[in-house]
């Protein structure tokens, strides 16, 4: 890693520490991109890229991203689960970058479930 980048990291540390002092890291939404072999083969990495880009662009700090394994519905991949705190998780199927953007902007940010892409409601088993 280059010297300039290390300087950039130090700047991020100073800035983020100042931000954190203002709002004590609340987590409002958890977004899970299913990253099993089936998900990866179907395009989950591009979906993850889009999601990270959207979070970066919108500047929100209360959205947590994570990955999980296959839940046995490989033909519906890529799958994304959106869990708004205190609400039932919503699972979206056949997610591509365009769907991911729409899900992020409408559901994650505005709380409006994107019914046309919904596969299921509720929790699953992944192992």
């Amino acid at each position: 890693m280059s010297k300039i980048k290390i300087e950039d990291l130090k700047k991020i540390k100073e800035r983020v520490s100042a931000e954190n002092a203002l709002r004590a890291g609340e987590r409002r939404v958890k977004v899970t991109v299913h990253m099993g072999t089936c998900g990866i083969a179907a395009g989950a990495r591009e979906v993850m890229n889009t999601l990270i880009g959207e979070i970066d662009e919108s500047g929100v700090s209360d959205v947590v991203v994570t990955t999980s394994g296959c839940m046995g519905l490989c033909s519906r991949e890529p799958l994304v689960t959106v869990e708004v705190l205190g609400k039932e998780p919503i699972k979206y199927e056949h997610v591509d970058p365009a769907r991911m953007r729409q899900i992020f902007r409408r559901h994650v940010l505005e709380g409006e479930v994107q019914t046309p892409f919904v596969l299921a409601k509720g929790r699953e088993k992944t192992d």
Binding site: S17, A41, R45
Partner: protein
């Protein structure tokens, strides 16, 4: 899967889900010897000999939600299709190493693809795990070690969007500098 970087993502996800804390990803391109080698090693719990032997069988999986496990078989197939070889070393005492070798110039050798996205996805999904990615190309080297980054950012998480962006930029730039296959 059409890129080696997608296989790498898949195999490293195995490591993190098995509880690894440190995963090494090494890519070696030696064009004089016409070899392209990928090695992924973790400090996870490892596999006993019976499990290791079954791991490349597509009809073996530790999961209960489906009856097939294709990650390692697909990676092995990608190596074999490119006049290469594949091996898994593991001990019941811990640690697993998956190695795949390819003929660099083989028409069926998949391109490496987008390693910056693979690392970004791995870090975003597993911010507690450390990754060391080393890429050698004909003697030139690029390395990124998330333990070094953690030292600089203190209590800022590794998956903070600004940190992920810097890591992605560094990988893209570093691989361009050594002319790595993409």
């Amino acid at each position: 899967m059409l890129e080696l970087s997608l296989h790498i993502l898949d195999i490293v996800e195995n490591s993190t889900r098995a509880g690894a804390g440190l995963v090494g990803i090494s890519v070696e391109e030696d064009r004089a010897a016409d070899r392209f080698r990928i090695e992924i090693s973790d400090d996870g719990p490892g596999m006993d000999e019976e499990t290791r032997a079954k791991a490349v069988d597509p009809f073996y999986t530790t999961r209960t939600v489906r009856r097939v496990g294709l990650g390692l078989p697909l990676f092995r197939q990608a190596a074999q299709a490119a006049n290469g070889s594949f091996s898994i070393r593991s001990g019941a005492r811990g640690g697993t190493t998956v190695s795949a070798e390819f003929q660099w110039s083989h028409i069926d050798r998949q391109p490496l693809g987008d390693m910056a996205s693979t690392l970004g996805t791995l870090i975003a999904g597993n911010p507690g795990v450390d990754f060391v990615y080393t890429h050698l190309r004909d003697g030139a080297a690029y390395t990124i070690d998330t333990r070094d980054i953690r030292k600089e950012i203190g209590d800022v998480p590794l998956d903070h969007p600004d940190v992920l962006r810097i890591i992605g930029d560094d990988i893209r730039e570093g691989l361009r500098n050594i002319n790595a296959d993409q």
